[in-house]
């Protein structure tokens, strides 16, 4: 085999890229995984993972220099001293905000699998049928039954802890034992269940943290430092899980510092020959060839690659014949909900830092419930005792004040809604040829916003949160809306949607680009609608399913 020829190429090494590499290599394909950023080696390169708080000069905070260098990241908690190295250098890789869009990127091996929130939920037919029933956008080309076995496959390998709940629209999965709720959460959950006649549920979060040893990985140590990289391999990441599995096959080659600039499209065969790579360190250009190409560069960057590909045939890029490439950008909107204080439980506390909270699955617009908006939202939250940053009345300074702060304060509880955003054709990304990144490549211009449906939903997200907490006995309940910028959910979805018709979708039901069937896109770009559940588990399942399809098609010589 020539040096630059492989059976398969995977573009990107995050959650979905790692899965593509694992599945392809385990099925025997010699696979090249291309990552635009540097390598981060499991454990060895988690340089801050075991530091104590006092070992950080600014105790984890943000300096003025960081604020200046990260004009986007600074908009939220993500800009911090502890894991700054896991976020993209914004000066090297700018983008254009036609309207505000918060794009929090991780350009390194593992991508955002190192920093993700790890909440893992299945979609259901409530989600897959939603566009068809509502008559918006296009219908998903798949249903839950198509994906269910692949969800199981993904969960069994990734290790998702959670409880079986028999909630039809939040299907149970192959779970490791659930984490515990704390005493306040347990009581609130029981009151919600009783009050809403089992139509609303508060469950422990389903999370990609191991509650028992799993394969070669150690169980969660309850440090709650996941986003620094886990030295125990206790949460799912490319480094902890899919990369070692792929490496173990002997079939994987990982090439960091490899910016894929385009898919090499062959007009005669109507297929991809491979990809063009710009070496990020040397600026040399290389061609790598393969029978099948998986784009897993993260939603917007997979579409960027498509937009730069086959432009001699389609000026707007590979997949643009539908008129939908770059359109229908989605996220989950959040940062609105309620919180309050809890009376009693002074004799209760907890041990360990649980890297997880509670989850209230969607209940709006289900069954007979009809709102003045479509779709719905879920909540994440937790209860806990206040720490030293609380105010203590009448004790402003001095020894008594200090000693009081060394004890835990009262219990508080808060919940925060995560709502579905609709796929609007006009919410779009495009190439801006006038703005170039460090490597002289055109950058994305992002032009998207939330609309009336999301704004109406947000009112319910805060009002319902207050109602539920008050009903459950929480005191001093206050609603909040901390404001939301599209993208802030770090759940970019759409821009190369799946569908049933090449005229209205970029990908078919197997995640193949209609216009080049040996090119698969299985990251967030493929999403036809957003659901309200955290999406990564769905990308894992879709990727495994697509690889299975690709390998079968290769055997049949169909691609």
């Amino acid at each position: 085999m020539a040096e630059n020829v492989y059976d398969a190429i995977v573009v990107g090494s995050g959650i979905s890229g790692g899965w593509a590499a694992k599945e392809l290599t385990e099925k025997g394909l010699k696979t090249l995984m291309l990552e635009r950023g540097r390598n981060i080696e499991h454990v060895k390169d988690y340089v801050n993972a075991t530091k104590a708080p006092w070992e950080f000069e600014h105790r984890g905070g943000r300096t003025q220099e960081m604020i200046e260098n990260y004009p986007v990241l600074k908009r939220d908690y993500v800009l911090n001293e502890r894991n700054l190295d896991y976020w993209v250098n914004e000066k090297e890789s700018p983008y254009v905000e036609v309207k505000r869009f918060d794009w929090y990127r991780g350009y390194h091996v593992g991508g955002r699998s190192l920093t993700w929130g790890r909440q893992s939920y299945r979609l259901s037919d409530l989600d897959f049928e939603a566009n068809a029933k509502d008559g918006i956008a296009v219908d998903w080309p798949i249903r839950y039954a198509d994906l269910a076995p692949w969800y199981s496959h993904a969960e069994r390998f990734a290790g998702i802890s959670g409880s079986k709940e028999n909630i039809p629209h939040l299907p149970d999965g192959e779970f490791l034992p659930p984490m515990d709720m704390n005493c306040v959460e347990k009581d609130v959950a029981a009151r919600i269940k009783a009050h809403y006649n089992n139509n609303r549920h508060m469950i422990i979060g389903r999370v990609a943290n191991l509650t028992q040893a799993h394969s070669n990985r150690t169980n969660c140590q309850y440090r709650n430092h996941c986003w620094l990289g886990c030295p125990f391999g206790a949460y799912f990441s490319t480094q902890s899980a899919t990369l070692p599995a792929a490496m173990a096959t002997g079939n994987l080659t990982l090439r960091p510092f490899s910016i894929v600039t385009r898919v090499l499209y062959d007009k005669d065969t109507k297929k991809a020959r491979g990809v063009e790579v710009l070496d990020a360190e040397t600026n040399q250009t290389y061609e790598y060839l393969a029978k099948v190409v998986f784009l897993n560069a993260s939603a917007l960057n997979s579409t960027w690659v498509l937009m730069n590909s086959a432009t001699d045939v389609w000026p707007e890029g590979l997949g643009s014949s539908s008129g939908e490439l770059g359109h229908n950008l989605m996220d989950h909107h959040f940062r609105t909900g309620a919180n309050g204080t809890v009376e009693g439980y002074e004799d209760k506390y907890y041990y360990g830092r649980r890297p997880n909270g509670i989850y209230i699955p969607r209940y709006r617009n289900i069954g007979d419930d009809k709102r003045d908006y479509i779709r719905g939202f879920g909540y994440q939250g937790s209860a806990g005792r206040e720490g030293w940053s609380r105010e203590i009345a009448e004790m402003n300074v001095g020894g008594e004040f200090k000693d009081a702060l060394t004890e835990p304060g009262q219990w508080t509880m808060g919940i925060n809604g995560f709502g579905e955003t609709l796929p609007y054709h006009e919410n779009k990304i495009s190439l801006d040829q006038n703005v170039k990144d460090k490597w002289g490549l055109p950058v994305l211009a992002i032009d998207a916003e939330i609309k009336e449906n999301e704004r109406k939903m947000r009112k319910d997200m805060s009002a319902d949160a207050a109602e539920m907490l008050e009903m459950a006995g929480i005191k001093n309940v206050q609603t909040y809306d901390a404001g939301y910028g599209l993208g802030q959910g770090i759940h970019e979805m759409g821009t190369a949607r799946m569908g049933r018709d090449p005229k209205t979708s970029v990908l078919n039901g197997n995640n193949q680009v209609w216009d080049a069937l040996n090119v698969y896109v299985t990251d967030g770009a493929c999403m036809t609608s957003a659901g309200n559940q955290n999406p990564s588990l769905t990308y894992m399942a879709l990727t495994a399913r697509a690889v299975d399809h690709a390998v079968n098609e290769l055997k049949r010589q169909n691609i």
Binding site: R62, N339, D347, K348, G352, Q380, A482
Partner: protein, 188 residues
């Protein structure tokens, strides 16, 4: 909802371990040395003010955690220039307040006088926080107090002696008994 509440609301998502927003102060440019902003005497003064806010009790106080140095680093690196100015001028104001009340500098006060002065300054900052417009700068003493709390409770001394620190808990128990006097877990 103010910014603090907004961020603590978001902190729920992260497992509730974020420090409060007011403490996530945006810290100036690296080019400045601590010495450019603060004299060693001022760092010593900040340690004494910090130690008046959080004195040694059955556990060490803020000076033992060198919160003066911590404040200087945070103001140098994390404060916007306008906040740096308020903080630096605040040190002068604090001594002026001391001079007005007791006829001498803060460093020359006895512990009781220090406490009296610091209480008065805290009342002053609390009043200002109640009445100031959203986005208006904080009172210098608020800055000192916040940095003292953050610096102390996240220091090795504060986290392991005043609070309880577990680097690797190893398990989670959502419902363990608590009796008055038991220390809170340090934020890690």
């Amino acid at each position: 909802m103010n910014r603090r509440e907004a961020i603590s609301a978001v902190a729920w998502l992260m497992g509730g371990t974020l420090i409060s927003a007011d403490l996530l102060v945006s810290c100036t440019s690296r080019k400045l040395e601590v010495g450019d902003l603060f004299q060693q005497e001022q760092v010593a003064l900040l340690n004494e003010v910090g130690d008046t806010i959080l004195p040694a009790t059955s556990t060490p106080g803020a000076k033992a955690a060198n919160v003066g140095e911590f404040m200087a680093v945070m103001v140098r690196d994390c404060y916007a220039p306008e906040d740096q100015q308020i903080f630096v001028e605040g040190i002068t104001k604090l001594n002026e307040a001391s001079d007005n009340e007791f006829g001498k500098n803060f460093m020359e006060l006895n512990p009781q006088q220090r406490t009296t002065l610091v209480r008065a300054l805290d009342a002053e900052q609390q009043e200002q926080m109640r009445t100031k417009e959203e986005g208006a700068p904080n009172h210098y003493f608020r800055m000192i107090k916040e940095l003292t709390l953050l610096g102390f409770f996240s220091s090795e001394v504060g986290a392991t002696q005043a609070l309880r620190f577990e680097a690797v808990p190893g398990r989670y128990d959502g419902c363990m008994p608590y009796k008055k006097g038991d220390r809170a877990w340090a934020v890690s």
